[in-house]
């Protein structure tokens, strides 16, 4: 395959869930070759995610016949999810972006799930959520058309509301990211949707400007317990 047929390669890593997800893709592909424009990877997460960080990247690059020099864009899952997993991935890939000069995209699970729903033909308005403690969920209500909704990144924390899991809101369809029940329909963020976010919307989310790069940070939906207690104590 020629270079032009596999233009703008990106590499992505997400550690927000028990399974580590990686993906390598290309913004452009040779329509005659029949080659997929992306390749998804996943690994069992143990306590050794930090030990295997570079192993994951090497494995993805070898499998796609690329070197890091070929990569033009980096992506990282910013959660919400495993605090340690997301933070470690962000520290690694943000520093990689800083030292290599390759722009970084921070992809939130909300954006990823919304893109998945849009690709499946779902229209807004919807409620989308992730589980919280004690039968509650962190919910995000999307009023607009899903195709037009993206890149909520750092502002998404402010738009989340903590509601009872049984709260159906104003009757709009309620989707749970990687979970569900009789009321909440499960949405599994897809590799296709991730590819869409990493390629179609990359100009809006990928940063090589240093100040903007620093804004790519984990979505800390739940504050540390010590902070909660401090607020309670006044």
């Amino acid at each position: 395959m020629t270079k032009s047929a596999r233009a703008l390669p990106y590499i992505f890593l997400d550690a927000s869930r028990p399974r580590i997800v990686g993906q390598v893709g290309f913004a452009a592909s040779d329509p005659n070759s029949g080659s997929p424009t992306f390749r998804a990877f996943s690994w069992e997460s143990r306590q050794d995610f930090a030990a295997r960080l570079t192993v994951f990247l090497d494995e993805m690059l070898v499998a796609t016949n690329l070197t890091f020099e070929h990569i033009e864009r980096i992506g990282v899952g910013i959660g919400p999810g495993s605090l340690t997993g997301v933070r470690t991935a962000v520290a690694f890939l943000r520093t990689l972006s800083q030292v290599s000069g390759k722009p970084l995209s921070g992809i939130s699970l909300f954006d990823w799930a919304i893109a998945t729903l849009a690709a499946s033909g779902e229209r807004g308005p919807i409620r989308i959520s992730v589980p919280a403690l004690r039968d509650k969920v962190f919910a995000l209500d999307i009023d607009s058309d899903l195709e037009a909704t993206s890149h909520m990144g750092s502002s998404v924390e402010e738009r989340l509301t903590l509601v009872a899991r049984s709260d159906a809101g104003d009757g709009r369809p309620h989707f749970g990211i990687w979970y569900g029940d009789s009321i909440i329909r499960t949405v599994d963020p897809s590799p296709e949707a991730l590819h869409h976010l990493m390629t179609q919307h990359n100009s809006a989310t990928a940063h090589d400007d240093f100040e903007l790069l620093l804004q790519i940070a984990p979505l800390y939906v739940i504050p540390p317990l010590a902070e909660i207690n401090l607020v309670k104590r006044g």
Partner: protein, 342 residues
């Protein structure tokens, strides 16, 4: 040879560039003291978040301060343990990214070994073995014989609270805030160290330490004294008890294991009473005493970079990107490889 050091094991994010293990080209530190002061101690999750906020700006500032480019860095040394796991992981991940992108060696460093290195770095010379070492900080109190790089015999460690932790807890109890060590030292200046009788725990029983009993005894003194408590005298008495406990054990070790060099390091080594008692002991026994200046006693990346340089010089298997961060890692234990390099 330029070594980049990264330290994030507790509440200080620090980066440094050290030349040939003995010359600090630049050293920067982002302290979280103000953040943790309101909690009365370090909150691990908060510390991890602050490390992530600090590390990328520090990389940029460090290179600017040293007037070096990334390409001029020869190797990256990172504290991989022991410490707060979430905090360690930020430094480890950032260090691996730099090493992997630039194809430079990644050298995992033991935090306490690096503290000992600080004493030699401050003197501008390579480490010389053997020596008797004492590392005392907020999370550790270890006495050991250092026979070489990564070759240590631990004589004793704390069974419960470390001395820095004791200072933090007592300081919080008497309203001196966090961190406790500097506050207690300041209060003790005009105090009478003999005013309050405090125990010297395990003083003639081996080389292990236990400071929780001293903490309980100090709290009992505080409660008994009530309004008549003299903070100056209490702080002087406590500081004296801690220093005497530590130095008496060092003195005993020097008799059982005669050595010509004594190294005391770690955050508590900045304490003036401990330094004074150590100096008297060293003079009486005719041993060379090496204690870093206070700026190199607390956590810093210069000691990590310096130790990385000498570790890389001594060990051929020290370059590995598959090492994990470890909250618990005993000095002298093998490196925690996930994949043993071939």
């Amino acid at each position: 040879m330029i070594t980049l050091g990264i330290e994030s094991s507790c509440d200080d994010t620090s980066l440094a560039l050290v030349e040939n293990g003995v010359r600090i080209r630049a050293s920067l530190l982002s302290s979280q003291i103000e953040t943790h002061r309101r909690f009365g101690g370090v909150v691990p999750e908060v510390a991890s978040r602050k490390h992530l906020e600090a590390i990328n700006p520090l990389i940029r500032e460090l290179l600017a301060a040293a007037q070096l480019t990334l390409e001029e860095i020869d190797q990256i040394a990172v504290t991989t343990g022991p410490g707060l796991l979430g905090a360690l992981l930020v430094g480890v991940a950032a260090g691996k990214a730099i090493a992997w992108a630039l194809r430079k060696p990644f050298i995992p460093i033991h935090h306490l070994e690096a503290h000992l290195e600080a004493a030699f770095l401050a003197a501008g010379r390579p480490p010389e073995y053997p020596f008797l070492g004492l590392v005392v900080s907020g999370g550790h109190s270890n006495m050991l014989i250092a026979r070489g790089i990564r070759d240590y015999v631990t004589l004793g460690r704390t069974a419960d609270d470390a001395p820095g932790e004791l200072f933090d807890k007592i300081a919080r109890r008497i309203g001196l805030g966090y961190p406790g060590g500097p506050a207690i030292q300041k209060e003790s200046i005009s105090g009478n160290p003999d005013r309050y009788q405090l125990p010297r725990p395990l003083i003639r029983r081996g080389y292990g330490f236990s400071f929780s009993g001293l903490k309980t005894a100090t709290i009992a003194v505080i409660d008994r004294a009530g309004d008549s408590l003299s903070l100056n005298d209490l702080c002087a008495s406590l500081q004296n008890a801690v220093a005497e406990t530590l130095i008496s054990k060092v003195g005993a070790a020097l008799i059982e294991y005669p050595m010509s060099r004594l190294v005391i390091a770690g955050g508590v080594a900045a304490n003036s009473e401990l330094r004074a008692q150590a100096a008297r002991l060293a003079e009486a026994r005719g041993v060379e005493l090496l204690i870093p200046p206070p700026s190199l006693c607390t956590d810093n990346a210069a000691m990590v970079a310096a130790h990385g340089f000498f570790t890389a010089n001594s060990w051929t298997d020290c370059n590995t990107l598959t090492v994990n961060a470890l909250a618990d890692w005993s000095m002298g234990d093998p490196l925690p490889f996930w994949i043993k390099p071939s």
